[in-house]
């Protein structure tokens, strides 16, 4: 049977849960479709569930663990009446009013939920290198989760690919276990914040391979090394490592909306004057619409904006008119 809601929020990272706190306090009884367990950064709670210490979220003088922070967001929204369902959305239909949302079997005749207003906060997931063998060797030396897998590389040599804050954070975390960590970066300088850079350069276990890209992952049953190409000299070399951690950035989770909402280059949802999307009544917040900032605090801020936007829209005559039209 299809359940009818005023507001459904898809996604449960900082953006989705902040939207849940605000819409719950506005007594809109939001339903949060929070996702399913995963190790690739699209799990309930979002990307912070796979991190350790968050040092730049305001209000926590000594930092806070990522999963703890997201647990607090979730409990806070629940306190004001937000409801959760642990499932992944499999299909949406934004062409009718109310909007229709499927979880589980996308070919089911009736959707699981109908909603007047929709907040999309599906975030972004880790990009992989796209090399042969990469998929096969996940769990056998290839990893996207340093906090999950670092332990297994005690006293071994490993490589981290990437140059942003996430890559440096992973590399520094991995130096607790590994004998050496080689950071492979395609540019000649880091994109990471200055404080992370200072820590990276001061760490004796961290080695840098600048202007280099991974062209091949070596190993049949488990990773034995990687082939690197120097982008300036074109020189090819082999680096013997037992582990390869990939932190080259993220791509927005917009597959569900590709043909129904206007997207920008890179697949991000296009927003207009705040969090409105190309379909009236659909709002987007967090990393799914932000190619620039991608911080927990900016995601939370835009989640608040989406909540206020959807609340005002529901109160407006436009919403009443559209919903009335849908029932004819």
């Amino acid at each position: 049977m299809t359940a009818s809601r005023q507001v459904v929020i898809v996604g449960s990272g900082p953006a989705g849960l902040t939207a849940a706190i605000y819409t719950a306090r506005a007594q809109l009884l939001p339903l949060v479709i929070e996702g399913e367990p995963s190790s690739t950064s699209d799990q309930p709670g979002g990307q912070l569930m796979l991190t350790t210490e968050v040092e730049n979220y305001p209000g926590f003088v000594d930092g806070i663990m990522g999963p703890e922070l997201m647990g607090a967001f979730r409990a806070q929204a629940e306190r004001f009446g937000a409801e959760y369902v642990s499932a992944k959305v499999s299909k949406v239909d934004l062409s009718t009013r109310p909007f229709r949302i499927w979880v589980g079997d996308p070919s089911a005749p009736e959707p699981a939920y109908e909603t007047a207003g929709l907040v999309i906060a599906t975030g972004a997931r880790s990009l992989m290198l796209g090399l042969p063998g990469e998929e096969r060797l996940i769990g056998h030396g290839v990893s996207t989760c340093a906090t999950c897998d670092g332990f297994f590389f005690r006293d071994l040599d490993i490589a981290v690919v990437g140059g942003g804050d996430s890559a440096i954070e992973e590399a520094l975390f991995l130096t607790r276990f590994a004998r050496s960590v080689t950071l492979v970066h395609r540019r000649g300088e880091l994109r990471a914040s200055k404080v992370m850079q200072q820590r990276a350069f001061a760490n004796p276990k961290l080695v840098f391979r600048w202007n280099s890209v991974v062209t091949e992952i070596l190993g049949e049953a488990k990773v034995t090394g990687v082939v690197l190409r120097d982008t300036q000299t074109e020189a090819v070399s082999t680096l013997d490592v037992s582990g390869l951690f990939v932190a080259i950035g993220h791509e927005p989770n917009t597959g569900l909306f590709a043909d129904q909402l206007e997207l920008e280059a890179g697949g991000y949802i296009r927003t207009f004057g705040g969090t409105r999307t190309s379909v009236e009544g659909v709002f987007a917040c967090g990393d799914v619409q932000d190619r620039t900032y991608q911080q927990a605090i900016t995601a939370a801020g835009s989640g608040c904006m989406a909540a206020l936007d959807v609340e005002r829209w529901l109160e407006s005559s436009a919403a009443t008119h559209l919903m009335g039209a849908g029932r004819e």
């Binding site: 367990p37 995963s38 569930m49 056998h140 999950c148």
Partner: protein, 108 residues
């Protein structure tokens, strides 16, 4: 933790898993692993629902390195399904319940 999930150690593994009459799904986990905590309640549900047909057991990798190394576990959560004393299926990384059931059910 549910009563239906046994706790394994290096010492008890062979007796509890390799000599088991029913297939055993072993959850390699650790306290510090976030995704392991996400799937823990799903494994309890599976253990209750498939009771008699399937046993579910947990092995803490921090305390039981021997078995962890023996099966080359290099990422957690890893779930290995053992049948008649041999590993028949391996799931690496956290997954939803439907997907977990789909991957193990063909061996039951």
């Amino acid at each position: 933790m549910s009563d239906s999930i046994a706790t394994l150690t290096d010492a008890s593994f062979d007796e509890q898993v390799m000599a088991s009459d029913v297939p055993v799904l072993v959850d390699f986990w650790a306290e510090w692993c976030g995704p392991c905590k996400m799937i823990a309640p799903l494994l309890e549900e599976i253990a209750d629902e498939r009771s008699g047909q399937l046993a579910v057991a947990k092995l803490n990798i921090d305390d039981n390195l021997e078995v962890t190394r023996r099966f080359d576990v290099m990422s957690i959560p890893t779930l290995i399904l053992f049948k008649d004393g041999a590993p028949v299926s391996r799931i690496v990384g956290a997954k939803g319940k439907a997907q977990l059931l789909q991957e193990i059910s063909e061996h039951l």
